[in-house]
Symmetry: C2
Amino acid sequence: MDERYSMYASFEGRVLIIGYGSVARAALLLILRHIAVSPGRVTVLTRNPIDAALQKELGVQTITATVTPENYQQILDDQLGEGDILLHLTAGISSYDLIAYCLSHGICYMDASLEEWPGVVHGEKGDYRARCDYYNRMRVRSLDSNDASRRSTAFIANGANPGLVSYFLKAGLLDIARDTGVPANPHTREEWAALAEMLQVKVVHVSERDTQRSVTSRTKGVFRNTWSPEGLYGEAVLPAEVGWGTHEKELPKDAKLHDTGTGSAIGILRPGCTVQARSWVPLTGPLLGMVISHNETLAFADYYTVRNDAGEVVYRPTCHYVYYPADDALASLREVVASNFERPRETELLIDDIVSDGGTDELGVLIAGHAKNAYWIGTSLTIEEARKVGMQVNATSLQVAAGILAGMVWIIEHPHEGIIEADDVDHVRALAIAAPYLGTIKKVYTDWTPLAHLDTSIVPRGDRDLDDPWQFKNIYVP
Amino acid sequence: MDERYSMYASFEGRVLIIGYGSVARAALLLILRHIAVSPGRVTVLTRNPIDAALQKELGVQTITATVTPENYQQILDDQLGEGDILLHLTAGISSYDLIAYCLSHGICYMDASLEEWPGVVHGEKGDYRARCDYYNRMRVRSLDSNDASRRSTAFIANGANPGLVSYFLKAGLLDIARDTGVPANPHTREEWAALAEMLQVKVVHVSERDTQRSVTSRTKGVFRNTWSPEGLYGEAVLPAEVGWGTHEKELPKDAKLHDTGTGSAIGILRPGCTVQARSWVPLTGPLLGMVISHNETLAFADYYTVRNDAGEVVYRPTCHYVYYPADDALASLREVVASNFERPRETELLIDDIVSDGGTDELGVLIAGHAKNAYWIGTSLTIEEARKVGMQVNATSLQVAAGILAGMVWIIEHPHEGIIEADDVDHVRALAIAAPYLGTIKKVYTDWTPLAHLDTSIVPRGDRDLDDPWQFKNIYVP
């Protein structure tokens, strides 16, 4: 135990971490710093053997195994029991199956995004909508209706986004309430949704710009990213998804509603990496990013829905991701689109090769349409700040790890809650735990709107809604 | 006269060059090398005074003036007379007005793209299609119907593209004919079009990848390009335009036919910088680029149209540009889209600051759909090769200048031809003149198609035409 670091919780059980990519690496460093857990009780499971130096450096156990639909139960039987924690931080392993196992064995669970076995999609067969994350999330959440679920907590999709952005959104809503003189003391989901409605929030963007870059030039055909390249590829080829606000007048072309579930989101039926939208971050101002499907925006849409007594939806903001990734990642995605979405054969994680020049991952929520127009709140973390935590850490992985740390503390403090998303937990404590690893927390109002500086002669008539800047048709770039 | 360089023509008259951007600079260097003209008879007109060193270096005259609709006639009266040459190489001055003046005064004329006075569009008022270059080109070509036009030659849109690519297309068609055993000896437009039809060419892409980059990082808000940033901005916010082939089964969404003129092209009614398509270049293989409106693709569509005796169109290839500009230019355009197409306030030309690392402008035509699938022919010129010509020259400007040089020679040899486009002139001589400045001339067959490696589970059903890879719906990325 290092006296320099605050201890937020202590844990006697075992922790199994599946995966040891950049996020798991950073998360493990933070967990060992801030949670009183014996390193010998922590096991890292990876597909390929990892450096023995890791055991030496951190004192954790390591095992090597390829987790499959056939063997995951045996592996979990061997490694975990009631009261233990499973931290799932790799692509290509079904969150649903692991959660179902954990809930029925009294094991707590967390992941940073909902994953599936390779090639598995949900929803109706032959319907392109089946690829929407909407169905995967709905299916996972359905596990909660099982009484047995209360035996443990499964905290799903809690990294940076999804994860931290939920905490920022709540903090932002309270800031806007304060600054516009709206009394606010929300505790329940219904009260939070009512607050968003009262503030007349029309739009919530998760907006992100990542300016980290490598000292080396990317080689053609190599898919680079500042976090799992496979993970980015996987989500970028899913249909774009948008939590669909009640103020919207017009469905975009190629968009479809869903027939089942809460109906809170639409799918834009093209791979998200080809769907672009305008947003804003403090670092660059206006931003063109990709509308990549992400759990948090589906979760926001459900969490911030207000229904009347008849159960009809009367309020919901439009919620989606606008992601301008690292330049190398964007160029890699251009190659993917050019090559008909073929899976990249070679990948590179940008990590210790990132230039020390202030490269920043700036990630937050743009909350817009209210009396003060738009408010951005989030984390702006430089590579230099991230590297203080250790080697093989970058700004992106540290932001995700900070969310995971906050979630781990919450799980330890609340081990019997069933399925949980970040919107369900106390954002104040979560941000307090995460903040030391988030660089500058920026909080800024902007007068930017998606109609700013519009030269109407350059866009076709009818392409924009000049009466309401926060219509999706002004944000979306068809 | 420098003995090292071939002299292709000699000219006794005066030459007025309007503009002295990177292209004009490189063109002037080549003209003085390869055309026997007295430098003292060459005048460079610029809006801002240019370095006195230029006069000293090259011995040319310089004048400073802002050319406007009100004063252009007076300026031309002062500078030029019958038998002289006007070389128009700047944005924001109407090609139409200058051509009309030149044709009626017996002055030869050339430009590297059709320009207009700021803010002027043609076509029907209030119709977004009016912004299409189609109307500007049609209007300029209509000048040819005037008998007086035969008093001089106006060679329009003859740089690299438009320009060189017309010569490459003809050379490519002959190569394909040779390699597929099709007898070919075309001379007239009708014979060239018939050859393309006989070869079953469905698609002609002008495909370009520019990998030149600066030693310095781009500052947010600064629009960078390897040629006129203002020029790229100007064409990138015009509607995308596509010469529309007879094999196409389905108009893309947002596309409109034209009601007047030859009807050979469609407009995709969104700014071209938001319209993306797949193509292929040798340097990178598959390529995602922008379908930016360009004169050459409209010209190809007309030139390679075959009509039956009843005047009905029976054959035309689909022709368009697929442009992946320098990374900094692409990032600049992302800012333009994010900012609602606002004109950039600050620009930077990448020129002497370009890294000497093999950065290349690779530009050519992909001729596809024939018996040998697809053939790419074009120029692949590195920054190092370009710099051998002089300071303030890059790969892009030298390619354009090489086309201009070939065109200048043609004008001097053919001074009474009226309106001419690059498709109308002898490609063999033009390429022979340009080739020494084009680096490697690549000629390569590829088995790539826009359906290559397609994962059909990732795209919505109906999004592609699996029966014909060369349908625009496979190429276009909606």
